[in-house]
Amino acid sequence: MAGVDVETLQRWLRGFAASVAEQRDALTALDAAIGDADHGANMHRGMTAVTEAVTATPPADPTALLKQTATVLIRSVGGASGPLYGTLFLRMASATGGETVLEPATFAKALRAGLEGVISRGKAELGDKTMVDALAPALDALDASLAEGGSLATALHAASEAADAGRDATTPMIARKGRASYLGDRSAGHQDPGATSAALLVAAAAAAVSGDG
């Protein structure tokens, strides 16, 4: 497969929705420990709405799909994760400029733009114990693998591994952004819920592109 078309993106989103549904209680339990016990419910509400919207009015091209996803997330999630995931997809949409099939490099650039959107919206830095700690290493791994000539599938698998590692690395961190920051030192020793859902997002992308999603 040369690039990412709208069907692949749909597979990605449906796959993400499915893993969020499956991990819903786990995400909420992580959020209960250092937040307000709603991250699973938030992400599930959002991704259910995205799946429904995509089914009801299937978008014509990747840009439309990403934009629709962003809008639905922003409209249905709320909390911190709604604007952040919404911004991620909104910036991705802007970076794809109406192409019907995204080249691997374009897809990677779009993801990078999305991450930058998350950072500019949320002001989190690496090490603040947020979704950024899963997303940033994932995109670095993605870029590195593509630069080495890896296929998009290979590169996304590397990205997913890096996201998982980034997610795991949030456990010892002391949160400096989001609700977990209120706990101060007590936030250490708990895995960040947003980094956990972000790792699911990257894993779903890898699965969708490999065709096993």
Partner: protein
């Protein structure tokens, strides 16, 4: 989980339906989950908008009405509402002289209100200002963190600014006043028990029978530390000390003392706590000029309390005393 509800997923929508019927003086847009003063927009008056997650009743909807807010956006339980709600509400409460967003400082609320202001700016020519309320001394405040939570001070801000808006002051003046009240406020809370978020169905945190959490938030966020269950006198000290350590509240025209119940705390206990807190303030030379005791900013079924102290000046006292007619606070009309 034992709660008076049908499906947890329908709790907020169904509760808003009941509230709508119970309060004919409000107008409820159920699709967008916006609660309005029935006569909004009030021409020539700055519109005041607040809101946040549900589960804090009577906040936020209980503070809509003459002398306080014009509209409130309700999110899911403990989840900030979304930008479309605030953008729609902003449009509908603009009486021609702008809208002030009173935002409780939580990452989600701040981002969603920001995006709403961006939307409003793109779609209408309504002037929007936003003031973020952040009074919780339990939280470390720095450039590198999300800063302090907004808790009880919002009641003082919304009441005082609401009265000033009713007098016809302009958007800039009201935003300045909101910032002034906020800067003059500090809060600290504690929990005897965790709340149970209906969608989760079990307590957010486990608290043994002989321990309490100091420095909790209003969303069941655990506190800064866990200490053995203590007499009310000692608990009062654990709340008052950090508040007084953070700001000088002595002198001037006295303070507003707001002792807030977290949802499952009997008034019998809240009044006792107020007595303990007032005695500590006496000792510290802090003079309660106005008092508010009750469950105003709750955290579902959490047992516990918080104390908020606001340094008052003459003008703020007059505005606090001015008439207000909301479901949660009412006097003078």
């Amino acid at each position: 989980m034992k709660k008076l509800l049908n499906d947890p997923g329908d709790l907020v929508a169904e509760s808003l339906r009941g509230l709508d019927r119970a309060h004919p003086e409000l107008r409820v847009d159920h699709e967008n989950r916006i609660l309005y003063r029935a006569d909004a927009p009030v021409a020539g008056k700055v519109g005041l908008l607040s809101g946040g997650g549900s589960g804090h009743e009577p906040a936020h909807g209980g503070f809509i009405g003459p002398g306080m807010l014009d509209a409130v956006c309700a999110g899911e339980v403990f989840t900030s509402p979304v930008p479309d709600q605030m953008a729609e509400a902003t449009k509908n409460i603009d009486g021609g002289v702008g809208v002030l967003h009173l935002v409780w400082n939580y990452t989600g609320d701040v981002m969603n209100f920001d995006m709403a202001a961006e939307l409003a700016a793109a779609e209408t020519d309504t002037r929007v200002e936003a003031v973020v309320m952040n009074d919780d001394v339990a939280v470390e405040d720095s450039l590198f963190t999300a800063g302090r939570r907004g808790t009880g001070a919002a009641i003082a801000v919304e009441k005082i600014v609401g009265a000033a808006a009713e007098q016809g002051r302009n958007l800039t003046e009201l935003a300045d006043l909101a910032r002034r009240v906020n800067e003059n406020s500090r809060s600290m809370g504690m929990a005897l028990t965790s709340c149970t978020v209906p969608a989760k169905g079990s307590p957010t945190f486990d608290l043994p029978d002989d321990e309490i959490e100091i420095g909790i938030g209003i969303h069941g966020e655990p506190g800064r530390r866990r200490v053995p269950l203590a007499p009310a006198h000692d608990i009062a000290q654990m709340l008052v000390d950090p508040v007084l350590a953070d700001r000088d509240f002595t002198g001037g025209d006295g303070v507003l003392v707001f002792v807030n119940g977290m949802g499952a705390t009997p008034m019998l206990e809240l009044y006792l706590m107020y007595g303990e807190i007032a005695a500590l303030l006496d000792k510290a030379g802090v003079v309660p000029a106005r008092t508010l005791v009750g469950p105003y900013v709750t955290s579902l079924d959490m047992a516990g309390c918080s104390v908020s102290i606001t340094k008052l000046d003459d003008e703020m006292i007059r505005l606090w005393d001015a008439p207000v007619a909301t479901a949660g606070l009412r006097w003078g009309m």
